[in-house]
Amino acid sequence: MSTTTDETKEVSAKVEAKLIPIYVMGKKYEVPESLTIMKAIEYAGYKYIRGCGCRGGVCGAGSTVYRKPGDYKIYTGLACQTVVEPNMYLTQLPFYPAIRAIYNFHELEGKPEEIFELYPELFRCVACNACTKVCPMDVEVMDYISALKRGDIVEAAEISFDCIQCGLCASRCYGELPQYHIAQLARRLAGAYLTPRAEHLKTMCANIETGRYTEGLNSLKAMDTDMLKKTYQERELEPATAGEDWTPKDSTYL
């Protein structure tokens, strides 16, 4: 599909791919069947200025809504991850307006009432489940909203962990909730105030403060680039099959 011109010779690679019809915002295009929606849209001649980010299924910019002929259901997917299907009707919905509450995080303590106060609309949820059905990451959105209504922030943080903040849940919400912003607050509160602190982190910080690694760091700093590369390449790696009791030969900094 691509043609590159070289000074001395011309290389032409041709890939045979079956073309299938898709409809982008109502207009029909013939695109290779193996492409993702994002590639197909570009193949059709569109250029992304926004509505496209990491292309790796994480950033949440490529949320796409589509339908299939003869089927009432609404389908969703990430444009960079979902392969086109014949006759799909699609549009990208890269952004959906939702208000994120303003708060000073350090003044919060991780109480359910703090979420209730910032997002009272939480209580307008009717459990219609449209959010869960539309989530391209298969997050059980309705379930984390339920958890928050009863004050279980940790549960909500766990359920919403895979959320990529694409906003499709908010686009379909009967109660007009900004679910993904509420979940973000829940994860922040859970992480900062409600889950146990990592004890080894404390020990490690204390070690750093007492200067345990200063000498080692200084010796690295003193190396030239080549020496640094060599040291990096020759470092001892933990074998993939190593058991729990594995330790490196040089245990100076353990």
């Binding site: 359910p112 949820c125 009717v126 459990a127 869960t132 209504k149 009863r150």
Partner: protein, 291 residues
């Protein structure tokens, strides 16, 4: 019989005293319940519009969870949850057209046709467990506690889900008698506390709640027992506001029915989370040496 327990939105936080005392009491009585592992808020108020089914989806979803679990009964402690679940169940059982629409709408869930039985702890104790059996289990009867049973609305109305006669009920009296308490009947025991009007018209809610408390006290009650976190808020927690706004408002200790049950069963006060009750409620229990 296998019973699912449905807590409802408020019982894990502000009405923890209702849940923890009930769970401890049921354990003591040998009533085995299992909390649904996935449940959503029932919506608290049942939709009263003939053409509105979306607000019935939430309680039906909970009933489906019960059925999925293979349980035949779901038990609620909060009377608003009981009412909403029971009415949704009644609809799914008896209205074929609406049942079809709701089942079709919830295309991600299995169909439901009202197969589950919805009970409140009250009718479970009366119809399944039995007052006599309960009486045998009472270790510390609440002798001398003059308590008014406050039914509120949703256990008794509308008729299709009423636990007892809407105007002349006796189930709460029977329950308190079994615990050994002295039951104080008062005319306003079935009058509404103002419910959600605490949001829309808070003064109106304060006024009716004040009437109820005054009536109970006038008939000799030294405390009130109730079943609903919203009643508890209007009649209990908001007594401070009432006392600010209406001169001569009484201070009335208010308890969840399950707290009195747990104490009468001889369970430790810690199960009752009395820190969530009014100070006067704790003091009265101390005065009477129940705790």
């Amino acid at each position: 019989m296998s019973i699912s327990y449905y807590p409802g939105c408020t019982l894990k936080t502000k009405a923890k005293n209702l849940e923890s005392s009930a769970l401890a009491a049921m354990k003591e009585l040998g009533i085995k319940v299992e909390e649904l592992d996935r449940w959503n808020c029932c919506g608290a108020v049942y939709s009263l519009a003939d053409d509105d089914l979306i607000h019935i989806v939430a309680p039906v979803r909970d009933l489906i969870r019960v059925k999925e679990r293979g349980h035949d009964t779901v038990l609620a402690l909060c009377s608003m949850c009981y009412n909403t679940l029971a009415r949704a169940n009644h609809l799914m059982k008896n209205d074929e057209e609406k049942r079809k629409t709701i089942n079709m709408f919830m295309d991600e869930e299995p169909d439901y046709a009202g197969e589950v039985r919805v009970v409140h702890l009250f009718d479970y104790l009366r119809d399944d467990y039995g007052w006599d059996k309960l009486k045998e289990k009472i270790k510390k009867p609440l002798n001398g506690l003059k308590v008014g049973p406050y039914y509120g609305c949703t256990l008794l109305r509308p008729k299709e889900v009423a636990l007892d006669h809407p105007d002349n009920p006796s189930i709460f009296e029977k329950f308190l008698e079994t615990l050994g308490a002295e039951v104080i009947n008062f005319p306003m025991s079935t009058q509404c506390c103002g419910a959600y009007q605490v949001l829309g018209n808070p003064d109106a809610a304060v006024k009716v709640s004040h009437e109820i408390l005054t009536d109970a006290v006038a008939h000799g009650a030294e405390a009130l027992a109730l079943t609903c976190p919203l009643c508890d808020y209007n009649l209990g927690r908001r007594q401070n506001i009432m006392q600010e706004k209406i001169e001569g408002s009484p201070e009335v200790p208010v308890y969840y029915f399950t707290q009195l049950l747990a104490l009468a069963l001889g369970l430790p006060a810690a199960d009752c989370h009395l820190e969530l009750n009014r100070e006067s409620a704790v003091n009265l229990l101390k005065d009477k040496s129940y705790i």
